[in-house]
């Protein structure tokens, strides 16, 4: 008799579970008055490990600070005013399209580095993007691959490939005009440039430019367009910094570590 009750009770519990699963009304959290206002200090221990900040290797701090000031000055007194003019003569759509065009050109870099890291599915997706955007997307100015087919870009560069195989970042180095970098990523510019179609050296495939002044001109347009797209982000970062150089340095190293982890 008792057993029957137990079974009945269990059955109701199970049924209740299922109904609970399907009922969708979100509970409104009740207001509970709490007298102890301050967080107890043991909350700290819970977060201590999670919030641990890694020291960045920085033997070139002196140079890096000077170069950060130079880059920031270049932004403030050169790129920003030039960008003002650029924004007048272009519409947002045009700027996004130019950004798309350059991104499409860097397909070989992303393809090679995805393959080197064994990410074949991403390499395949990138290939699809390149084929679609180069043809239907009018030489890459538009991105129908993402908008119509849901193909996503998977940016990988040689620095990430090295990081993937366990190569450390090395000392932080700020590069003129380019900004924060580190030894590993700076060296990686060369292999990535070797597969870039924006170059003037003889290649087995067509390149965008034939001479070095041409290369500089194209690179300038690329940089200017980049400034126009990311100006807000940079200004926000500047506002949040108590000291610009170490802030930029840590943001860069954190971002790279995350990119490599993924």
């Amino acid at each position: 008799m008792l057993k029957n009750y137990v079974i009945l009770l269990l059955l109701t519990l199970i049924v209740f579970n299922f109904t609970a699963c399907t009922s969708k009304d979100a509970e409104v959290p009740q207001k509970i008055e709490v007298t102890q206002e301050e967080v107890a200090d043991d909350d700290f221990d819970e977060f201590e490990e999670e919030m641990e900040v890694k020291e960045v290797s920085d033997p070139f701090e002196g140079y890096n600070r000077v170069m950060t000031n130079f880059n920031d000055g270049m932004y403030e007194h050169f790129f920003k005013p030039v960008n003002k003019g650029y924004v007048v003569i272009t519409t947002p759509d045009v700027r996004v399209s130019i950004g798309n065009f350059f991104r499409n050109l860097y397909f070989p870099m992303r393809f090679v580095n995805n393959v080197l890291q064994g990410k074949f599915r991403y390499a395949f997706e990138e290939t699809g993007r390149f084929l679609v955007n180069t043809t239907a997307g009018c030489l890459g100015f538009f991105d129908p691959a993402k908008k119509k087919m849901g193909l996503k870009s998977h940016k990988e560069d040689f620095g990430q490939t090295l990081g993937f195989y366990g190569v450390g970042a090395g000392p932080h180095i700020v590069i003129p005009l380019f900004g924060p970098s580190n030894l590993r990523d700076a060296i990686s510019f060369f292999p990535d440039a070797a597969v870039s179609p924006i170059d003037y050296k003889k290649r087995d495939w067509p390149t965008l430019t034939q001479t070095w002044p041409g290369l500089i001109a194209v690179k300038s347009v690329e940089k200017l367009n980049e400034v126009s797209l990311y100006q807000n982000q940079y200004e926000e970062i500047r506002k949040d910094a108590v000291d610009l150089y170490p802030y930029l340095r840590d943001l860069y190293e954190q971002k790279r570590a995350k990119e490599i982890e993924e």
């Binding site: 269990l10 199970i14 959290p29 008055e33 200090d41 797209l229 949040d240 840590d250 954190q254």
Partner: protein
């Protein structure tokens, strides 16, 4: 007889498993629903052209405040050792400045918002932590923003059950970034200088 006992045991296990699963899943669903609700409220405020910029930003910050544990963020940004070394007054002052700065920083980011679409891509739970992954679709590309929630042991006054203690933007934790820069600053300068720098930031 034997069979019945086994049957009861199985039922018992199923019901317990099912029940605990439900509680966990529901909390996540609730948080997600709550987040989307807040989001749509904020978008409504942004879309309402009657508000001045300041009115709008205050409204949004007020809307967000119950979701964030700004106080905890302030403490974590200094790290335990430094925080404990401060006097009670300095602690209060620092928290006030930090919270003010966070709010300003948010407001200024809202100003650059332009009809971007936000969608939740994933929600993950690990004990008393939930990370809510979202994607902001801008014209140029998608920005990944992760909101990290924790559940305080005791519910806090005027606060939600789950509170945001960190936001990760394209892989950068804003809290870690602050912790790193404050640590660097304090290596050569005093806490008073840091607080002065923070209060100056507020006005710019």
């Amino acid at each position: 007889m034997m069979f019945k006992r086994v049957f009861i045991k199985i039922l018992l296990v199923i019901s317990i498993l099912g029940f605990s699963n439900n509680v966990l899943a529901n909390e996540q669903d609730n948080l997600k629903a709550h987040f989307l609700e807040e989001l749509s409220d904020i978008i409504k405020i942004i879309d309402n052209k009657q508000f001045t910029k300041d009115e709008r930003n205050t409204k949004i910050v007020n809307e967000l405040t119950p979701m964030f544990d700004f106080k905890l963020m302030a403490k974590l940004s200094l790290g335990k050792k430094k925080w404990m070394s401060l006097s009670k007054e300095a602690q209060v002052e620092f928290v006030t400045l930090y919270v003010e700065r966070m709010k300003n920083s948010y407001s200024s980011k809202i100003d650059s918002y332009e009809d971007e679409e936000v969608k939740i891509t994933d929600i993950k739970r690990k004990k008393n932590r939930i990370s809510l992954e979202t994607e902001i679709a801008t014209a140029e590309k998608n920005l990944k923003v992760v909101y990290k929630f924790y559940k305080p042991k005791k519910r806090k006054n005027d606060k939600d059950v789950w509170l945001i203690y960190d936001v990760e933007i394209i892989g950068i934790s804003i809290l870690k970034a602050d912790k790193a820069q404050f640590k660097e600053f304090l290596r050569t300068k005093t806490i008073e200088a840091l607080m002065e720098a923070l209060s100056k930031q507020k006005t710019t």
